[in-house]
Symmetry: C2
Subunit: 469 residues, 2 copies
């Protein structure tokens, strides 16, 4: 045991003793081996530190006790859902307490009359969707991680997903949150009513703030009626750039698809290697479009989407008549990221650019990959201009890592120059801090610091993430 | 000329001299008679003070010059669109500068590919909608004041409207804003891309902040494709409470109307007295529902809405087969407020309650009106639970005013007790400051103060509105 380990151990014992009156011992984790499973999210090469302990609260009041103890002792608080984040936002900080929401996963209410649900932060996205479906309701935001990621994490990062192109992101569905504030108060922000403008939109400010402004202990989300059945329109393309032209054509045509996903052959091959789904296509790039407009109007829209594919040079395209096959393609889309991760470290980009420049941006990404001798696979919420180039490196190849990180930075530069943003839906965390400082001018960075200082006066809420103070 | 008038005059001359280098004299208003037309919005009995001068900038840079001069001199800045607000948010403060956006009314861009528009704050809501329609696009937020109110004012108050019940409020359409901050910087917040989570949602924070956090100089809004044709489903009811039951029935049935407006006979009579539209119905209360789902699915939904009306005791109901008649009914709805204003001072409520308690809330409003001997007409965005009881008083009747103000306060109390909010879409301004302090617990009020202090460190942005520091 090193000197610093002894010190961490002493601190953690003191804090654990103090918290013991509020939280049962079996949910105060001090065992280093167990703590090791809570150290970081899925962001490749993002640093993480050594926490004092991990707390697994069962109630907002328990969270409040933890935060209050941390304020007194100036201990950083890092909040964690399922740890599926891709930017390092949930990574441990030296000497922090990790608040893990794995024991707070109750759906408290699904109200069909008011069309809302109230959930604890640890509820898994797909579980909420399934529970809503039983009531004829729909919670749209569907990040690719929906089978694992939690609503709390989704709210902290303002997660997107596949259906955003028509139905918006997490922010668009958060009516209210209960929060333990930076001053240790347990409060409700936002509302349960359909409308409401009483005071500043502090609930909205919490969404996407990545745990830096408070700890969210409950979320009230807006629901929609169940989605109409979707038609799936599949297109094969020779190149990502051709597929990018099809994406642009769909936007120019005025269509509003319920999904428009791009996935390249490398991803399909990786999924097949893992799940043996037999999907590896004859094409280099797949576009998976969906239309959920009901009736004859939807049929016409599907035809228009096919025409857009063809104009952009699709080598094959058709409306899927086999629902099972269509669902398999979308499942492959969701599995692409974990499938590629099995091959080696994957650095995940998350830029979002105007739809007009999707083809140019895809060209640039290819060019950057070649120049840095970096293998780049591509998935994208293409209809939103939200591109996820996946920079794949061999295990234990330091040179390849350095080249990939340089390519990553240059893709960010290009996105900003094209009028885009460094992060469409994954958040800043640790990986995009330089990118944020590039994207925002200094006075706007100062506004961030001012807001952070106002709501987290003790500086304990996930410090050192998103931006430097 | 009183001593204080002399003092105001001296200050205004000094400031005008200082601003003369940045802003031409004809847009620096010091004439007291002209200034008198910029003193207040349409909130009844909300106090207003004497401004130093009125500035009518033509550019964001001119606004910045004004704000910087005001920072140096500790002069409050009050921003103003068309002055159609109903809560006193734009009312002059003693010794302030009024920044009026009547000269900044250019639509800078309508982009059909990215589905966005960029506008100056003084653009009138209906003008933006008309310009978008020419491109096959739609800007949905449609406050009743849409023919006069500006996008800047709509953003400052997070205005709602008739189509919100299906399409959301102003907040849901603001992608980005350009702002002169409380420190005099001219910055852009938000984005032009479909998605983006780079940093805090400061653009969202500006929406609904009623000019207390900065001066908005440009707005980028999201657009939708043109709305489908709407069916209008009209129902007559004996009482507002019966109509409230129909509203609840529509929600219970799982319908998503594109409008669901309640309007009582008093409003129709007032509109007829003004515009001679011949609308005064045989019924005491009208419900105006709309369905814009295309095709046969929409036809079925319209039938379901009729069935809801009937179950709730409609004395007559039908789908309008005459588009002109249907449009006239909605025009009457929009004209109700100005029509009633012609009869005497009108105190406008703006509570929003859960849909489940709409009938109970309407019952309470009637009871409160009787108890305070106050004449209350009713219009409502009923499908949202957003109710606008209109408290009408005779001219120059001090007793009636006091009774109406007491009834106003008691309606707010009731809305909060029913789980509602004191303002659904008009904002806090001056009229609802006590209501806000009732609705929010002290630690949340403190969060408001902290955010205000962080972003408006000199305290010059519309001080004394929304909450007390």
């Amino acid at each position: 045991m090193s000197a610093s380990t002894v010190e961490v151990f002493a601190h953690s014992t003191e804090l654990a003793d103090e918290l013991a009156s509020a939280i049962p011992a079996d949910r105060l984790v001090t065992d280093r081996d167990v703590i090791a499973t809570y150290l970081h999210d899925e962001a490749e090469w993002a640093p993480y530190g050594a926490p004092l302990l991990v707390v697994r609260p069962r109630s907002a009041e328990e969270v409040q006790s933890v935060v209050r103890a941390c304020i007194v002792r100036h201990v950083p608080v890092v909040t964690r859902g399922a740890g599926t984040g891709l930017s390092g936002g949930a990574n441990a900080i030296d000497g922090c307490v990790i608040v893990s929401f794995d024991k707070m996963n109750t759906i408290k209410e699904i109200n069909s009359l008011e069309r809302l649900a109230v959930v604890e932060p640890g509820v898994v996205n797909d579980d909420l969707r399934a529970a809503c479906a039983e009531e004829g309701l729909w919670y749209p935001p569907d990040p690719s991680s929906a089978a694992w990621s939690t609503i709390g994490g989704n709210v902290a990062t303002n997660a997107g997903g596949l259906c955003c192109v028509k139905y918006g992101v997490t922010r668009d569905y958060v009516l209210g949150v209960q929060v333990v504030t930076g001053t240790g108060e347990l409060v409700r922000l936002g509302r349960r009513t359909a409308k409401g403008v009483a005071g500043y939109d502090l609930a909205g400010l919490m969404v996407g703030s990545e745990g830096t402004l408070g700890v969210i202990t409950e979320i009230t989300v807006k629901l929609r009626p169940l989605q109409e059945p979707q038609r799936t329109i599949v297109g094969y393309f020779d190149s990502t750039v051709d597929a990018g032209h099809a994406v642009r054509a769909v936007a120019e045509d005025g269509l509003t698809p319920s999904a428009l996903e791009l996935i390249d052959r490398q991803c399909l091959v990786a999924v097949d290697a893992w799940k043996n789904m037999g999907l590896s296509a004859d094409a280099n790039v797949l576009l998976l479009g969906r239309i959920d407009t009901p009736g004859a109007v939807g049929d016409i829209e599907a035809e228009r989407m096919l025409a857009c594919y063809k104009r952009a040079g699709a080598t094959w395209s058709a409306q899927s008549t086999n629902q099972q096959e269509a669902d398999a393609l979308f499942l492959a889309r969701r599995l692409a990221y974990p499938a590629l991760e099995r091959l080696g470290p994957v650095l995940t980009e998350d830029i979002c650019v105007p739809k007009a420049v999707v083809p140019e941006m895809l060209t640039r990404i290819e060019e950057i990959g070649l120049r840095y001798d970096t293998h780049i696979a591509s998935i994208a919420h293409a209809g939103d201009g939200n591109l996820h180039p996946l920079l794949i490196t061999p295990n234990d190849d330091e040179d390849a890592r350095i080249r990939a990180q340089a390519a990553f930075a240059e893709i960010i530069d290009a996105a900003i120059r094209y009028g885009g943003t460094v992060t469409g839906e994954h958040g800043i965390g640790l990986l995009k801090m330089d990118g944020l400082a590039q994207e925002l001018v200094p006075p706007v960075m100062d506004m961030h610091r001012a807001v952070k200082g106002a709501l987290d006066p003790h500086g304990i809420m996930n410090p050192g993430k998103v931006f430097r103070l």
